[in-house]
Structures are given as C-alpha cells and as structure tokens.
Symmetry: C2
Subunit: 463 residues, 2 copies
Amino acid sequence: MFNEDVYVRRRSQLRKQVTSGLIILPGNDESPRNFADNPYPFRQDSCFSYFFGIDQPGLVGIIDADDGTECLFGDDPVLNEIVWTGPQLPLQEKCRQVGVAQTMATDRLVPGLEKAQRQGRTIHLLPQYRTDTILKLQRLLGLDSPQSVDQFISEILIRAVVAQRSVKVPEEIEQLESAVTITAEMHLTAMQRTHPGLYEYQVVGALEGVALSRGAHPAFPTLFTIHGETLHNHYHGNLMQAGDIVVNDSGAESRLHYAGDITRTIPVCGTFTSRQKDIYTIVLNAQEKAIAAIQPGIEFRNIHRMACVSIMEGLNELGLVKGEANEAVNAGVHTLFFPCGLGHMLGLDVHDMEGLGEDFVGYTDTIQRNHQFGWRSLRLAKALEPGYVVTVEPGIYFIPALIDRCKAEGKYAPYVDYQRVESYRDFGGIRIEDDVLVTEMGPRILGPPIPKTIDEVEAACSY
Amino acid sequence: MFNEDVYVRRRSQLRKQVTSGLIILPGNDESPRNFADNPYPFRQDSCFSYFFGIDQPGLVGIIDADDGTECLFGDDPVLNEIVWTGPQLPLQEKCRQVGVAQTMATDRLVPGLEKAQRQGRTIHLLPQYRTDTILKLQRLLGLDSPQSVDQFISEILIRAVVAQRSVKVPEEIEQLESAVTITAEMHLTAMQRTHPGLYEYQVVGALEGVALSRGAHPAFPTLFTIHGETLHNHYHGNLMQAGDIVVNDSGAESRLHYAGDITRTIPVCGTFTSRQKDIYTIVLNAQEKAIAAIQPGIEFRNIHRMACVSIMEGLNELGLVKGEANEAVNAGVHTLFFPCGLGHMLGLDVHDMEGLGEDFVGYTDTIQRNHQFGWRSLRLAKALEPGYVVTVEPGIYFIPALIDRCKAEGKYAPYVDYQRVESYRDFGGIRIEDDVLVTEMGPRILGPPIPKTIDEVEAACSY
C-alpha cells in the first residue's frame, strides 16, 4: 500500500468536501464462482482501496464527516482459524499502516448505525455494483428491502470522490506507469506469439500468463480477436489465419490495482496487407493527432471530434466516403465506422469510477451527454485537467450488421459509397490505444514505448 | 457441449426422481469485479450446465416434473446490440442443441410462476450461492425478502441431483481426463520453472498461463506456496529459496467445465533433503495405499482412516510419535499432522456439489459426520460406487499454531514427542493428490502420469 499519509490526506479531503454526516465505504467480499468456497480472485472495491488501502475481504470503513473520527470494522481470525490461514497481521496493525486509529469488530457496526439513524444523521453511500454488498448494507442499516439502500446514495459523496480520484498524484502515476509496463510486456508477448494456425486463446494464455507472472491480474477481460469489428467480443476460440488482423485490447493491474489499458492491432502473418496498411494509417494518424491535442482546458469531446474528422478525411482519400469531413461528422457519418468513444478516464478502474456514474465522471452541469448514436457512447466529454489520465483509442470497424442497417435505411447516403464499403465488409477492425497523462506541458504517454507504427509492429511480430 | 441426448436423459431422469412440481434451475449471470461492466470471467452454474449445457449468462431453466415440459427462459440480443456483440446463435437454436423444445422471453417467467403458485404447485429450488441469483429468484417468485427464497429449497431435488451427478458416465470421464491432462501440463511447467530466487507468483503465472493457453481456466484458486502447512493459503508473494519445498495444488477445467485437481510437492532447488524425503515417503505411501484400497462398496471414511494409520506408522518410525498406530488414530493424534480430510468428490465442481450441501454429497442417513477436530473436515465418508470420481490427497503438515495449542493443552501427550516435533516446526507441509475413478475393477487414476515419486519429481525439476 501507499504510505499512510496518502490515505490520511485522501480521507481528510473527502470529509471536508462532504462536510457533514456519516460516510460508509464498504469493502468487497469474496465473490463466489461455482460455490461459496470457490471464489474468484479477490478484488477490493476501488473506492475502499483508495481511502483505506487494505486488501482484505469483509471490511467496512466509516468516516464521520462531522467530528473527523474514522473507524474500520472487521474481524481478526480466531485461533481456530489461524490453524488454516496461518498467522495474520492483526487488523489493528493494518489500520495503523493506513492511519486509521480505530478498529472495531463487525458486530459493533449495527448498533453504531442504529444510533446514527436515531440521531437523524445523514448517511452517505456510493452507488453499489455487487448484490452481496447491497444485501450487507440493507442488513447493517436495518432496511426492509435491498432497493431501500438506494435512498442513501449521496450525490455530494459521489462528487467529492470523483473530484479527488480524477486527479492523479505522483504516486498514482507511478502505479499507472507500472501497470502499463506490465501491459507492454503482454503486448510484446502477443506480437511475438501470434502466428497463423494458432487459436486466439493460445496467445491470450501467454499474455495473461505474463501479467500473472508479475504478480498482477488482468485489469479487465482480455479482448483478443480476429473479429475486432465486434466491440464487445471476449470470445477467444477463433483459429487465426494468414491475412487476419487481431485486435488486442488488454492490460494488467499494478500492485495497488491501478489499471493499464492498451490496444494494438497485429497482423497474424507478421505483415499487413496494403489494404490493412491504409486503414491502419488512418487510425494511427487520428490517434496521434488526438494525443497531440491533449492539454489542460481542452474538452475531450472536441478531441473526440478531431479524431472523427481525421478518420473521415482518411476514408475520403480511400474513396469510402465523400464530402467535407467536418460536415460528414456533423451528419454522424463517422459513427458507421467508429460508433464508440475516443476514450475514458483511467485509474483504479479501467473505466475509472464508472460504477459511480459515467455522467459524474465525464460530464458536467453544462457539458451534457449527446444522445445520438455514436456520441452517446462517449464516456468522457468535459475539459481536461492536469493529473487526469485518459485513454486515446480511435478505431475503424467494418461492422456488417451496422453497414446493413445504415444501407437499408439509406442513412448517410450523400456521404457514403456503400459499394466500396461493401468491399471492406470482411475487413474486421483496427484500434490503437495508449494511456495518456494530462500535464501542464501537454500529453505524456504512460509506460515504455510499445510498437505502434506499421514498421514497429511488423518488426515486433517477426521477432 | 455434449450431444443433446445426454441432456435429455439427465433431465428426464431428474424429473422422474422429483416426481411432481416445478423445478427451477437458474443459470449464472455475469459477476462484477470492480464495476458492473467489468465482470470476472463468466462461469455457468454447474447444475444448470449439467442439465442444460448452455454457456451463456441470463438464462433460467424450468422442468415441469408432472407433465415433462421443459422451457428455457432468456433473451436474444436485439439488432442494436448485435452491432456490439456480433451475430449470435439464436437462443432457440442453442436450446435445440440440448434438446429443449421451448424457449421464452424472460418477461414470460413471472406470470408463469405466479400461475404455478396460485395453483398451489410445489416449486423446487436448489440452495443458491450467489446473491444476485437469490435476488433474481426473489423477484421471479414475488417474495418479500431474499431469505424467503430458502423456503423453496427442495431436499428431494437436492437428493436427485446429487444421485445423478455423483456417478460419472463415460463422456464425463473423458472431460475429467481432459481436465487432468491440462492440469498435468500445469504441474510439469511448475516443476520445470520452480527455482531458488523466484517469487511464487512467477511460477503461478506460468502454470495458470498453461491452462489459459489451452482455452481453459483454473478450476479453483491456485495454491502454490512454500508455506504448504497453511492449508488455506492463496498468497503467492514469497521468495522461494534453496531448501524450501512448495506445495502446488492446482487444476484446470475442461472445455465443459469439469475440474482437474492435482497436488504435487516440489523441492525448490530440484532435490529434496533427506529430512524432506522421509516425510515425503510417508505421505506417498499413505497416498498409494489409499488409492489401492479404492473399490466399490468401501466407505471412504475407512480409506481416510487407513491413510491416517499409515501416516502414524511412518511418523512413528521417524520418532515423532509413539504407540500403536490404530490407537493413536483413535485418540486423534494424526490430526496434529493431518487435520483435514483425505479427499472429496470431483466433477463439475472441484469439491463436487459442495454448494448443494456437503452432507448430502458425502454422507448418508446412517453414515453421519463425525464432529471431532480433523474428522469434521472429511468431505466424503460414504461407500464408494462405480463412476464416483474422488481425490486422494493425504498430507503431513507442521502447523506452528496447532503444535503450540496441542502442546500447551498437553494433548496427545502419551503419543507425541513434542521435542522432536518442535525440530520440524519450520518444515512446512507435503501433500500428494491424484484424481481417481472408482470402477468395478478398482481404482483408475485419471489423466497421464504426473511425476510423483521422489526420483520422478527430482528428474522433472532438473529438466
């Protein structure tokens, strides 16, 4: 974990912003896979981790915003359990390491919360994403139904957490750099291992094995597919053949659970065809332009737009679309090829703080989500600030279902040469993604260089 | 999945045994890791998988035990979603592949269950281990609280499922063989990769990478530790040094989610010390005797006892214990060194059907659990039948907390030379485990041979 000062500072800042009431931050429990005692690898809740740092199931943190007291509720194993678990650092000692003075047994929590409710104190909760945590909170707060937990979700708490977690301090940048460093190894391994005649899962095993061998876990389900045009595709059962390109969107978590999130597109036989190079070059240009535009104050939606225009210009040169690029983007034509957003915040979560509500993270009272197809998938729109870490991940995707639908509806007809687009129907998709820190001096790409130009990728593949 | 006949036969047999009422078998949903849209790798519920075979979240299977109708409830992606997910086989087609004639949209389920409840029909549920499934059932059955779901847990259904899943048919044996084959590769990799100066996670990454590269997942959290004496130990952060031994208890799932579960104990520097060889030999003898004793009709608790006696005899020769071995076991002395059970059923779950209740799986009305320390951890006691697959995994563990407690209490004093035991205080633990099919002709160890004797393990380590 970080030095205790980090956690003390974070909690103190949170308390000041929330100003009053009781903040409850439940940690995660074990998550059962196929029976209770066969859990998935434990992952602490990101907010709990951010404010309390302890990587152990079964804890609940309380911060009293009025008087500043803090307490962690949890139970040490009893002697009988130590026979099975081995000697454990007492919870009190772990609490000391993160600057929390008070530790109490879990059964002290219900009376404490009863008292607070009797006194009419405000209770602040964050939105929850695990049903076991919701049921636990229902029990702790003595509520009738799981749904009633929602009444304690506190916008002031959400806003305070988002404000704080959005700006990464140097020790967090270090964690993110370390995550991207492991992620870079995963991507190099993938480039070296990808060959015609292998199944996708054979490479996925190798690249996830790299993460695990560094004591890390994948930060999200690895996307590694010859069907890169399918954006939500976690199937790894395809046979890779010469001529295919593979989209590899994968990343590892650092020791303290900060996420790396990198995408590279790999030619299965080691070299791109000229048609693949054309599209690759358009995506790469869009990505490099977007990264270069990153600086404090610029709205990310404008960088997204810049990438869309760049893609339209490139596709225009190839004769897939026509007309002025800005007008085409106004008409939404880019969404036929790039129906998703340019990127998102990155931190303890790969879509950082998505569980708290994307609109709190990526939008403001004045910069509201645009609900048109394509734009509505943009997770981040607001102005960038120094310390933000964002992904920049444009792509071009030939999605048969989408092409068919738009063509049938006669959509974008003045702009799209559907006959030419049809000839790319089996192309697949290409995406290129880096993780970028916003600094006063502009963008800083995190981690070591990862092969990205056509020459670099081909060189890494033939390694 | 298996041929549709397999599923048709399984469901028909289940229906006949349950005789009447509505059997509800909910499949699993995605399980969120750090936010809703960042799930753990999907794992279908084992019972759903056993009876319906479809590896997809969000399904509920219904079997009407009275009239034999069967229906799968679930939703196909709409066109809008296909843009993101790619083309999907319609649910109806998947159902056809497992012999289910009827498919309905999820929203048809509530009215159907309301009607059944109005008609006073019995509803049969299995015990549930995921809170999201419990909340889903609460909603589907229109209940007041998650706890009320329990009232539908049906012993007749549990017994019918356990009876059927306990006896593995040839196509299941094939799956188990395939799981152990991948598991064998994991163990060979671990033996080859383990060296002084590495951290445990470096080898864990390599061996789990092997499973993933075969399109498989670990069947349970890998236990790979120089502290093999700590039985519930999933920490992988220790530096391995010459002289250490590592307990590697790990396994992969087959394509259809049958589990392999193998343990080997590896000398970090490639060769065992003579002291380690002594203990290893005792464990190996106990394991081989136990396996040899496996045959239909023998109670597994007696095989457990046989292994305990064998361990006592071995420790007696080393001078750690004294007295007649059978008497020592009667007095519970073995539990100081071997506080857990000899093995468990193996199948779709690594502790097969543990979620349905261990007593239903491993005990009978007449063979009841012995609640003494050590014996109470025995998961399987009843008589073996052809088609059962069990693990055989004796071990010797020097657990400081347990030694201290027993010594302080003067426990087993006539039998234990505590001074000599103290000299093994830092020894760690040794376990050897194989997966064994009970046949009419006796035991059959599943999978390819995995280095097990001292010579074999040392040879594999110096590969």
